[in-house]
C-alpha cells in the first residue's frame, strides 16, 4: 500500500442542537474519520425544566397536564402511566368497565399516532422529504380529531384520571372511531406498498445501526426498539395492566435489530393495535366512566394523602417503551418524590454503539429509528 500523499486528521463535528433532522433541540458531538463515525456523544438538557421538581410542588392530580408535555405525541399514555401509579399508591382504586375500555382505545389510538408519525419522520430523515410524512400526518390528523372530540384538545389531552377518565366520550365518538379504525389497514397497505419493499429504503436501512439482543437487554432498551432486536417483552403482556389480557394480539419481533427492523416492527405493531381497537370498540359496555373514589380524588385533590412511607412504581407500555412513574409519599397531599422513567431518554444510551463505523448520513436515520421526543428526554 502506498503512503497517503496528505496527512489526514480526525474532524470534530457538532450535529445540532438546531439541526432540522435532530428531532428537537438535541445535539451530538461526533468525531469523524472522513465520513465515518469514530466517536459520538449525545448532549441533551436544552428542554430541561425539572418536571420532577414541579411535580413535587403540587398535588398528585395537578401533575396530569404536565405529563401531556413529556412526550407530546402520546399525551394519553402519559396520563395513563401516572394514573396507574396513583392507583397503586392509593392501594387500588376501582376503575369501571367502560373506563377500562376507553383507556385501551385511547392508548392504542396513541400508538397508531406515534408509530405513524415516527415512520413519516424516519422517511424524512432518509431524504424522502415531505411526501411520506404528509401521508402519515393525514392519518394522524383523523385520530387527533377523535382526541379533540373526547378531551377538547388534539395533543395536550389531559384526559385519563385515577379511577377512570375525566368524562365519558361524547355521542358519535365510538362510531367515528370504528370508521377510522376500519379504514386504517388500507392506509397501512398503501404505506407499505410504497415503503416496505422499496429498494432505496432497504439499501439505506438494512444492516445499519444493528442492536444485538444482549446489548438491548443490558442497556435497558424497551419498546419497539427492543422487540426489533428479537426480545419478546411487552408490558401489556408481562404485567397485563388494565384489561389487556382480554384482547387477542401478537407481539411482533425483529430478527436483525437494524433500522429496517425497527421500521417494520412498528408497522406490524400498528396492525396489532388495529386488532385490539376493533375488539375494544365492539365490546365496550355502557356505564360510568369514573369510579366514586376516583371522582372524589379528582374533585378534592388535597384530601388524597397516602400514608407516610408509601411508594409506587407504575409502568405501562407506552409507544416508545417502558414509561414508569415512581411516587413516594410523606403523608402530605403532594408527592415527596415524583420520578419519570422516560423510555426515549434511556433508549439513547446505545446511540453511540449503534453509530460507530457508520457514515454521517446513517447517524440521522439511526436517531430517527430510536424514536425520541425531547420533551420526554429532557423532562
Amino acid at each position: 500500500m502506498t503512503e497517503p500523499l496528505l496527512d489526514t486528521q480526525l474532524l470534530e463535528v457538532n450535529l445540532g442542537p438546531q439541526h432540522p433532522s435532530t428531532h428537537g433541540v438535541f445535539r451530538m458531538q461526533a468525531l469523524l474519520d472522513g465520513e465515518t463515525i469514530v466517536k459520538l456523544k449525545p448532549v441533551m438538557g436544552y428542554l430541561h425544566r425539572n418536571h420532577e421538581q414541579l411535580g413535587e410542588g403540587m398535588t398528585y392530580i395537578a401533575s396530569f397536564p404536565f405529563t401531556d408535555r413529556l412526550d407530546y405525541f402520546c399525551a394519553m399514555t402519559n396520563n395513563l402511566g401516572l394514573a396507574l401509579a396513583i392507583e397503586q399508591l392509593a392501594g387500588g382504586i376501582e376503575v369501571p368497565e367502560r373506563a377500562q375500555y376507553i383507556r385501551v382505545i385511547m392508548s392504542e389510538l396513541t400508538r397508531l399516532v406515534n408509530h405513524t408519525a415516527v415512520i413519516g419522520f424516519l422517511l424524512n430523515d432518509m431524504g424522502a422529504f415531505g411526501t411520506p410524512l404528509l401521508y402519515a400526518f393525514r392519518e394522524r390528523e383523523k385520530i387527533l380529531d377523535l382526541f379533540e372530540m373526547a378531551s377538547g384538545s388534539r395533543m395536550m389531552c389531559n384526559y385519563i384520571r385515577p379511577g377512570g377518565v375525566r368524562e365519558d366520550v361524547p355521542e358519535g365518538f365510538l362510531e367515528r372511531a370504528s370508521r377510522i379504525v376500519a379504514e386504517y389497514p388500507r392506509f397501512l397497505d398503501e404505506f407499505e406498498a410504497l415503503l416496505t419493499q422499496n429498494e432505496i429504503i432497504r439499501q439505506r436501512a438494512q444492516h445499519v445501526g444493528v442492536l444485538s439482543k444482549e446489548l438491548a437487554i443490558n442497556a435497558s432498551i424497551t419498546g419497539p426498539m427492543l422487540r426489533a432486536s428479537g426480545v419478546d417483552y411487552d408490558i401489556r403482556k408481562v404485567d397485563g395492566y388494565g384489561i389487556y389480557p382480554r384482547f387477542a394480539f401478537r407481539i411482533p419481533l425483529g430478527t436483525v435489530g437494524d433500522v429496517y427492523d425497527r421500521y417494520y416492527v412498528r408497522i406490524l405493531e400498528m396492525r396489532e393495535s388495529v386488532a385490539i381497537l376493533q375488539q375494544a370498540l365492539k365490546e365496550i359496555p355502557p356505564g360510568p366512566s369514573i369510579s366514586p373514589k376516583g371522582l372524589q380524588l379528582v374533585k378534592s385533590p388535597r384530601t388524597f394523602r397516602p400514608p407516610k412511607g408509601a411508594e409506587a412504581y407504575g409502568r405501562i407500555e407506552s409507544p416508545k417503551g417502558e414509561l414508569g412513574f415512581f411516587l413516594a409519599s410523606d403523608g402530605s397531599p403532594q408527592p415527596y418524590r415524583y420520578h419519570v422513567r422516560a423510555p426515549s431518554f434511556i433508549n439513547l444510551t446505545v446511540l453511540e454503539d449503534l453509530c460507530l463505523g457508520h457514515k454521517v448520513a446513517d447517524v440521522i436515520i439511526i436517531l430517527g429509528s430510536i424514536d425520541i421526543v425531547m420533551g420526554e428526554v429532557d423532562r
Binding site: 435497558s220 432498551i221 417483552y233 411508594e311 412504581y313 417502558e322 414508569g324
Partner: protein, 163 residues
Amino acid sequence: MPVGLHLMRPALEGLKSAVEGGLPGVTLQLEGSVLMVEAKDVPRVCRFLKDTPAYEMDYLANLTAIDYPPDTLEVVYHLCSMRQKHGPVALRVKLPRANPVIASVTPIWRGAEFQEREVYDLFGVIFEGHPDLRRILMWEGFKGHPMRKDYVPEDQDAPDERA
C-alpha cells in the same frame, strides 16, 4: 399477583434469604415492599441477582434517588427479568447526605449509564467506577443539585450573572 405491583412479601422474603445465603456477610432489611441494601454490598447483591438462574434480573428498569434531609439520601433501583418476565423488585440504599458515594452499577447494566448521570446531576451522588460521570441535564459549570430538597432556585427575574 396484583398488576404491576412489586413482588409480594413472601416472594421478597424468599429473595432476601436466598441473597443472604448466597453471599456470606450480606444482610438485607425488608421494609414494606422494599429491600434495603448496605452501600458496600450493592455491586455484589446486584451481580448475584443478575447471575443467579432463579432470578436472572437482567434488566435494570429504573434507577433514581430520594433526598431525606438532614442526614440521608437514598438510591432506588427497580430490577426486572426480561427472560423470566418477573419484577420489578425495589432495592434501596441509604447514603450519608454530606458525602454520598456508591459503586456504579453501569459495569453490570449499561442501562444505568444515563440514569446514574442524571442522579449525579440532580442529587450529587458520586458513582464510583462510572465510565463518564458528567452532568447530563444541567449545563457544564452549573452549581448545586436541583432535586435536593434544600435547593433554592435562582430568582427568575434577577439578571443572569452568567451573561
